[in-house]
Symmetry: C2
């Protein structure tokens, strides 16, 4: 049974996000204590009451392709409509576009809860958020007026159309064409793959944001433009009208995340697909990054979601399953398996990692708000945290889902138990929205060098100013040393060390936030069970997970030469 992680969300909002500081601003004045509590509780009810019960159907039945489009499993249409009716889509949307204007960090908490209940389902609102961001930042006033109110409520959903068969992570290689029609509109033609919720039956319209090339556009990412392509063109009164020649060719047969239809979309098969330019011609990459950066945080958040869900399931099992006496206890009666030290170690690790991922992702989300407010350091902190939140958040989701199976023992491998679904669902998250390897490349190739290393240096300084534990301080120092050294390395050497370095830096940030959280929880008033667990999770994190990350030092300082000491073909030998 799913229970919203309200206590930890509130704790992280208070002590990591600094929600009170945000609420003290005019822009986010709506985020009062009462409102935040009401939001967390309200979405928790929807998630536990309506979304969580559909988790298994989403997996076993899944979204289905039909010649008339994708059909969601029974119950999803209603549960989605109740999400729309409840106003949950509008949380983070600025009031000028029909939203509630609450901080992105609160929207993050809302999506956290929905996705913990049903991660695949929550991808629909998550992608809509990306479309809203792109339109809010780059759309014309007319486009914003026509589309944003419907996207803000979630009445219409949004998609991101980047990938093509020949161009996976290499967006610049895309071939979808946009030809001017002379009236300011464009004719779109091409095929896109891996389009999550590219089609479904929960909304009367779907707003596709499509990267394409205009005639004579320069090669590579420089020549890419972003187009708004609705599934149904708008009538004069703004309601969905004629079909816009966007066909769902098929959906992928994936290992998990079956509630989320991953579509192959064909635009303009009948040369009758019309799009509008968003932002200027060749402004596609910039607009894409607007969508994608926040989408990356939201994928990192999926790591939190699946970790939370897997942990709850494992804890529930361990509190119920009775097996074997506890060794060394002198008592021959079998006990609940939560009492066995190694099971407890796994559970505490799951709790600690889940909380750490939540702290990391929410902390990054809070920088979106600081950037919105124009606060000093907000945007730059967001820039450097985004690859960490995406990659390490999803790595944690996968590790915790795997531990969840292990806690269940043989039952974990049986599909009916549900632990396996989390493991299968989680595995896409280190891949999409830029593989975690690409996040690591972004960190060492772009983010470390921002402001001549100043952005990185200020993050290190903030951590160093607060961290107390010796191993944590050593980790921060080691990250500092390695990070500064990266500037002098070749591209190959940087990239060869990028992934272990990303992990070290992520753990340093998590360790910093977890140590602080443990310190606060130790003397805080409130729910003793929750607070004692926060203290234990923080202790475990700093004492065990931080030193593990120090073990990555050699890898994070290794050069590329060993990788290229063999020919490519020798890998097949």
């Amino acid at each position: 049974m799913f229970t919203p992680a309200t206590a930890d969300q509130r704790f992280v909002l208070d002590h990591v996000v600094g929600i009170a500081d945000l609420a003290a601003t005019e822009r986010f004045a709506a985020a009062s204590d009462d409102v935040v509590d009401a939001v967390l509780e309200g979405v928790g009810q929807l998630a536990a009451g309506e979304w969580a019960p559909l988790l298994r159907t989403g997996d076993t039945v899944g979204a289905k392709w039909t010649p008339d489009g994708v059909v969601m499993p029974e119950g999803f249409v209603k549960a989605y409509h109740d999400y729309v009716e409840g106003g949950w889509g509008t949380i983070g949307v600025p009031e000028e576009f029909g939203g509630q204007g609450l901080p992105f960090a609160i929207q993050t908490a809302v999506l956290d809860t929905l996705g913990s209940a049903n991660m695949g389902f929550a991808l629909a609102p998550t992608l809509t958020v990306g479309a809203i961001e792109a339109l809010a930042h780059h759309g014309s006033p007319a486009q914003q007026a026509q589309y944003l109110p419907h996207l803000a409520t979630g009445e219409w959903t949004g998609t991101m159309n980047l990938t093509e068969p020949q161009a996976g992570s290499d967006v610049g290689a895309l071939r979808t064409q946009a030809k001017p029609l002379g009236d300011g509109k464009w004719s779109i033609k091409g095929t896109k793959i891996y389009i999550s919720f590219g089609d479904h039956d929960m909304a009367p319209n779907i707003v596709h944001l499509v990267l394409a090339r205009t005639p004579g556009a320069p090669a590579g990412t420089k020549g890419i433009s972003l187009f708004l392509v609705p599934k149904y063109r708008l009538n004069a009164d703004g309601t969905p009208g004629a079909f816009n020649d966007v066909r769902v060719v098929s959906i992928e047969h994936k290992m998990g995340l079956h509630a989320s239809p991953t579509c192959v979309l064909s635009f303009g098969d009948n040369d009758d697909c019309i799009g509008e330019l968003i932002g200027g011609e060749f402004g596609g990459i910039r607009a894409m990054f607007t969508m994608m950066n926040n989408a990356r945080l939201n994928v990192g958040l999926q790591g939190v979601q699946v970790a939370e869900a897997a942990t709850q399931a494992a804890v529930g099992y361990a509190l119920d399953r009775v097996q074997s006496p506890r060794a060394g206890s002198g008592n021959a009666e079998p006990v609940k398996i939560v009492e066995h030290p190694d099971v407890r170690r796994m559970l505490l690790r799951m709790k600690a990692q889940t909380q750490a991922a939540r702290a990391l992702v929410y902390y990054a989300a809070s920088q979106v708000d600081r950037a919105t407010l124009g606060q000093a350091g907000g945007q730059e902190r967001l820039d450097i945290l985004t690859p960490l939140a995406k990659a390490h958040g999803t790595d944690i989701g996968n590790e915790v889902a795997s531990l969840g199976i292990q806690v269940h023992g043989g039952m974990g491998y049986i599909e009916e138990t549900g632990a396996a679904q989390f493991f299968r669902d989680a595995r896409i998250t280190p891949i999409y929205e830029g593989t975690n390897g690409i996040q690591a490349a972004d960190l060492v190739g772009r983010k470390l060098g921002l402001d001549n290393g100043g952005v990185f240096a200020r993050l290190i300084a903030d951590m160093r100013a607060e961290a107390e534990d010796v191993a944590l301080r050593t980790l921060i120092d080691t990250c500092d040393e390695i990070g500064r050294g990266m500037a002098g390395l070749s591209a190959d050497d940087k990239l060869a060390a990028s992934y272990p370095f990303l992990t070290m830096l992520s753990v340093a940030v998590c360790g910093w936030l977890m140590e602080r959280s443990g310190r606060i929880a130790a003397t805080a008033e409130g729910d003793r069970a929750y607070l004692s667990m926060k203290v234990a999770a923080a202790r475990f994190y700093v004492a065990q997970i931080v030193p593990e990350a120090l073990g990555l030092k050699a890898a994070a300082m290794a050069k590329a030469d060993v990788l290229y000491s063999v020919t490519a073909e020798a890998f097949a030998a």
Copy 2:
């Protein structure tokens, strides 16, 4: 396309197993160079030609339950018969029981190849090996004469029946009953779960080895006896005759390993199930460990199998898939992804881990042979290596299968690609045959203390005498220090630290064997591509994976207090 890992198998047999030393004994004189090469090549042909092509059918169609028993997917019956016809089942069986009398290490290589081609399928022969071991060591001459020749060829298959619904890892809690019939036979009644290949249509008989309680037996493991329960009773001429009231109730709907039917077996529904005692009454646990210890090595070997298969698939993809220019190369043309540093890091890690797991498991397997020969130190080294081989071998299988998905990017998440199957198949291996947590408990609770720590000390001494790298020597010293310290700890403290300690010690053993292998490969004559990869894999292992294991020191020295600083119920807070 699957290619048998013959070069690495031969290398490990030569330089880790010491096959020449074994072949120099009378018992294993048959293991000449020519014979070993012929075995590796021959089974490679069967595996690549007949077993690998069934990998995907095994997953997508899978074994099916019918009222008349379990039916294997098309092609399996023939492929299994060709395995029997080729004599592959007889490799490791002593000549006196109709086998070829080759070393267990060679049988390990044979199963390695078959399981790399089709891991789920290879579980059928793997379990038969367990049944052979139990009968060879504990069966009466009559039982051996009646059953062993048929099991040795694989004409009949074997199963292990331990688990019951209320008794998972706690074997002592089982309830299946055996009542004496007065003629030396026993009436068996009870339900067993998780019985791999508990039923199928590839063999005319199935020999179930069943743990049960006799009337008035003491509680717990002390009161358990082992029974031989054929699916069909033998006629006077030894051929399968009347049905023995062993009914397959259902098969599990598992996340993976669909080629292997995981059965719920009901014995004696009609009070007409007859079994024979194997070994003496109450000798069940001893006999079970005979089966199980070698089965544990063979499950560790499944880690090698799935790692090998996943690595081959990922390498194949990375050598084929062209995407993005290589950063810093000055060349704007897209390259094969194997050329990108982080992809290469993943691939080299996969190679290094796969080779390390193979070295560890084959090294353990060679101790079975040394024990068979009565060589000093064989049995004790086997005892301490078994939990490492099982747990760390399977941990590596899972890590490598996950990396395999990552190398494939989005394609890795699509089932048709095949990478996902390895990931799903692998996940059971850290669970069955004693969860990896139980292996860790076995290591710290029983194995470290053998001969007052002498068994552990001699392993440490052997590693220390040969290891050269500073980090590796530090790891060995650290393991020594922690391992010796375990004796003074409480059961809780030992167990709390057991898993990280098991990983550290396993990596130390792997590092020792890999470093040696790299040293030898650097000056060896032969296939340059293979040898250069061995050198690179060894370098990577010692330089990067060994230091990672050092990062586990804090966890391996941590006490249980943090785990019990919270109530069990607080985990649900």
